[in-house]
Assembly symmetry: C2
């Protein structure tokens, strides 16, 4: 490579919130370094904000805040979308692609909902569309899965991809607190939103699960096929019962190859304490990948926050800017598989059932028989006396069973006099 | 991208041992998948072995074992070097580069000793030289550090990069066994070599530290500047004392930015039990990366073994073959920094000193005074009665101190009557 001067690569930033501010800061502060790594000067062309009069928490002076997105995009080589939300992000990204700009986005909701449309537009225009920051914040996961494992077969991905729920479950585990109390405290401390639904009901994790599944299996998986359950039904008793059997409860985003297709889901699950995911605490995220030849891999780091997310965005900016400086660009991958995504009832897992029963002879035989008739075998049973003398709490861990069979068993249990209440049904993963 | 037929990309494999066998298997079994990901057929041109008559443990038929390396290399688009050792690997890689082939290598010893020569040759010839498998086996670390963090600044890398030593320290920790007993058992089980020197004395880890430092700081660090200490001096008492203070001993490869340059070293160190590296057990490896914006990241997986290493090699093969199929290739990076690598005596760490002393009034004051005169302050002191009534064991954790100051203190201690023996001096990392 000679030291010939190259044309500057012009970067437009759309949005100037927590992430946008940090992207602008890094672009400005590290201009020399970026030029050196890209092989051409990298210049900030401008920052789109809806209202230029609103004061910004920008550490370095922003040369050109503008509310004219169209003009900004038309003049850019690379458009960095860090606004979030579906619109106007979607329209602006399509404008950028149509204008021949490469795009870097941190927008998981948009990719999960409209990824195929955007990928196809970028393919057709021959520009780059990079999204490392959209999957797990600062954790590099796109390049490792798409490139480093390109000669291998990913069989399963288990991700802790939402910091709020991981913090809540952590507090419930270490302090024995109830779900509601922890969420209130998390809201007070700013770790959870005033309306925490997107986090605690698993919507955020489901969007990331769709992107992870797309990456892992080289195909396009959209949000609407992801089975989703949140953590709001997890009780302190569930957490205690999990600990009794050497497990911890985590909200997992799971994408796996199964007979006949792939399965993608988000739900709370028991993870063995010996599993590397069990040691991922608080706001940290981790993605555990199982591949045929590579075996088990884990990627760990901060899944959110302005600076960590901006770090991932900047890595993508360097990649696409380098492509532009070297005169060649285009999609990393233009071939896709088309495996069917199976509905949740065709997925199998191990289960932990926790229930209150009448403590009388034959009760366990009746329960075991009911499970057996649906083809579900029991691995362990633990029985504890309950507060009421004639009642007992039974915790059953099953071998692998189909969701549809477990659903039938739960119906069957309703007809049994011995079963007073099913307290919880949780899947066991990571074994 | 149109579906136009592309010329096949011809792959030559040099070496057919544990890794080479798995590379050949994956190339053959996954030919369809590879063609799809590369955008052109990927064909095995041949496998170089010194003696074609030796029987091979190759699961699939090898079309063309050959002992004529020159002819094989001359005809290849991509040369995969999985022989190990310095020669003839170095000469053959230079031949491949001279012939215009891209190179994928898993050879950490070669890169640590002759990396600059090979990188420069590849740069000059405009071909790719990829080496993901050389750093930490199957763990993707090259792309994450070189590309995902390209817009960030890495400040420190802490790696558990040698499975044998990690297994030995694990066994000492969990079973309270002595170093020698664990090594003997590891040799019996095949987890340690008959001559374990390269592993237990840190030579293997030092080669990886040189490569990690080169990656993290975008510069060329060679093996001869890496400070190296092994684990053969670590005792069961050291492990117990570490556990007493909430630490575990790990052999770490450390590369860090320090005032005035970078420091690169390998030595056993105390790691807090709460640190993610503390949970990396047995043959698993992990690389913990600290970056200014991204914060803490960790990459975890299998650091050795035929199939895991072959997975990383195949990922590189797909990348370089795709470059060839797309008509463009060349080094990922052609700019390098030139920071001085500081000698170990200019590095500072926290230390844990374990020593036997005469249990008499004023002893602690004398020891503390000696440390203080060299500018080293004490964080904690624990004192335990020893077997002999008049003696005691003292375990001191210091605040951060320069290696040169600690060396002076150890000399000073020799002149003190109160100090009977310095049992161990270990660094504390990861805080």
């Amino acid at each position: 490579m000679s030291g010939a001067l190259k044309d500057p690569v012009k970067i437009a930033v759309l949005g100037c919130g927590t992430v946008g501010t940090q992207v602008v800061r890094l672009l400005t502060e590290q201009a020399d370094d970026l030029a050196w790594r890209v092989g051409a000067p990298v210049v900030l062309a401008g920052v789109y904000v809806r209202d230029t009069a609103v004061p910004r928490d920008v550490v370095v002076p922003v040369p050109s805040l503008t509310s004219d997105a169209e003009a900004l995009i038309a003049d850019a080589d690379v458009v960095v979308e860090v606004m979030g939300g579906i619109e106007p992000a979607r329209t602006m990204i399509l404008q950028a692609i149509a204008a021949g700009a490469s795009v870097v986005t941190a927008n998981k909701a948009l990719l999960a909902a409209h990824g195929p449309e955007l990928y196809e537009a970028a393919d057709a225009a021959g520009v780059d569309l990079y999204f490392e920051a959209a999957v797990a914040g600062a954790i590099p996961i796109v390049r490792p899965v798409r490139e480093s494992l390109a000669g291998d077969h990913v069989t399963r991905v288990l991700g802790i991809v939402n910091g709020t729920t991981n913090y809540v479950l952590d507090e419930m585990t270490t302090k024995g607190l109830a779900y509601g109390d922890v969420v209130s405290e998390a809201q007070r401390l700013g770790y959870a939103e005033a309306d925490p639904t997107a986090d605690v009901e698993g919507y955020d994790a489901a969007a990331k699960a769709a992107i992870l599944a797309s990456l892992a299996f080289h195909q396009r998986v959209s949000l609407d096929v992801v089975h989703r359950e949140g953590i709001s039904t997890v009780t302190a008793d569930d957490v205690a019962a999990a600990a009794d059997s050497g497990h911890v409860i985590k909200l997992l985003a799971i994408a796996e190859r199964v007979d006949g297709g792939v399965a993608v889901r988000v739900h709370p699950a028991l993870v063995p304490l010996t599993h590397p995911l069990a040691g991922v605490h608080g706001a940290f995220n981790a993605v555990f990948v199982e591949a045929e030849a590579a075996g088990s891999l884990m990627f760990y780091g901060q899944g959110a926050g302005g600076a960590p997310t901006a770090s991932a965005v900047l890595g993508d900016v360097v990649s696409v800017a380098r492509h532009i400086a070297q005169g060649g660009r285009g999609p990393l991958e233009s071939n896709y598989a088309d495996l069917p995504v199976l509905p949740i009832d065709q997925v199998s897992s191990r289960f932990q059932l926790r229930m209150f029963v009448v403590d009388e002879p034959g009760m366990l035989a009746e329960i075991a028989g009911t499970l057996g008739r649906r083809g579900i075998s029991i691995e362990t049973v633990r029985q504890k006396p309950a507060a009421h003398d004639a009642h007992a709490e039974v915790v059953i861990a099953t071998h692998r069973a189909l969701e549809s069979d477990m659903a039938s068993v739960l119906e069957d249990f309703k007809a049994l006099d011995a079963v007073l209440d099913i307290s919880s049904v949780l899947r066991i993963e990571g074994e």
